[in-house]
Amino acid sequence: MVTIDIAHDFSRFPGGRYRSDGPNSGERFRDDILEPALRSGDAITLVLDGVRGLPSSFLEEAFGGLVRKSWSCSDLTSRLHFVAASPQLKRYPGQILDYIRTASKVA
């Protein structure tokens, strides 16, 4: 089991879609943090607590982008687990799974 604490391991202020949009973009999070963890083959626990906002463009590129890079929807939904203890963040796991499913329908 790999644990990724977004606020601690990446940024408290994630934002932007592509690397050209800034240092905390969804593309950088996907390529530098998520994909290496996924390649380990383990289940991944993503800790959302501590981040200050999760813009949709960031989430879509990070998670929908995994499907566009040939990760399968079923593999991702079975291996990604979320921790969102803060009530304000409870809806985000659902939104992330929506992006994965939508991207797999388009792909």
């Binding site: 879609r17 592509y18 906002g53 813009p55 009530p87 304000q88 809806r91």
Partner: protein, 176 residues
């Protein structure tokens, strides 16, 4: 017909307790409904800002720096408004049934995607009038879902359903 003072006293205490409980319930209900309305106001405010935001472009050139800064300011305010929406949603959705909460979260996700999806946050982008329009439509849908959820929740049936689901959740949590 003689009245027992003790009976009168007990009746008065029970009446006062019932009246107090009713008033307390009404106060809590009004407070909760007010939180729904505050949420709806924030939704409309966020949608208006999103519409304004998506009608402008970001050129990313030194000449357009002032205009770009204004758009960047809108992006930051939108992120702040989204955080406020999330907090307000968390405050009032805990009293909703699972079905209502699911519908509401789904509507919030759609609005969030409409406001801050696409090229949101990119250094250079064109205006997107469709996204500007979509923000208004998704906000209207969300307000309808929120008010409908609230009006269902304050009925006796809605309240009983919430209590049943809460009991089931606690039971499942205790079962591990």
């Amino acid at each position: 017909m003689a009245f027992d003072p003790l009976q009168i006293l007990v009746g008065a205490v029970i009446g006062a307790a019932a009246q107090g409980s009713l008033r307390w319930w009404q106060y809590r209900r009004d407070l909760w409904l007010q939180s729904v309305e505050t949420f709806c106001d924030a939704v409309e405010k966020a949608a208006d800002l999103a519409t304004e935001h998506w009608l402008f472009c970001k050129d990313g050139t030194p000449e357009s720096d002032d205009a770009d800064r204004s758009v960047r300011g809108q992006e930051i305010r939108l992120i702040g408004l989204q955080a406020r929406l999330d907090a307000q949603l968390a405050m009032f959705s805990e009293r909703l049934s699972d079905e209502s909460r699911g519908a509401l979260e789904s509507a919030v996700n759609r609005l969030s995607d409409g406001m801050m999806g696409g090229d949101f946050g990119s250094k250079v982008r064109s205006p997107d009038p469709e996204r500007a329009r979509e923000a208004q439509i998704l906000a209207s849908e969300l307000v309808v879902v929120a008010r409908r959820s609230a009006s269902t929740a304050i009925t006796v049936g809605g309240f009983m359903r919430f209590l049943r689901e809460r009991r089931d959740r606690r039971y499942l949590a205790a079962e591990g």
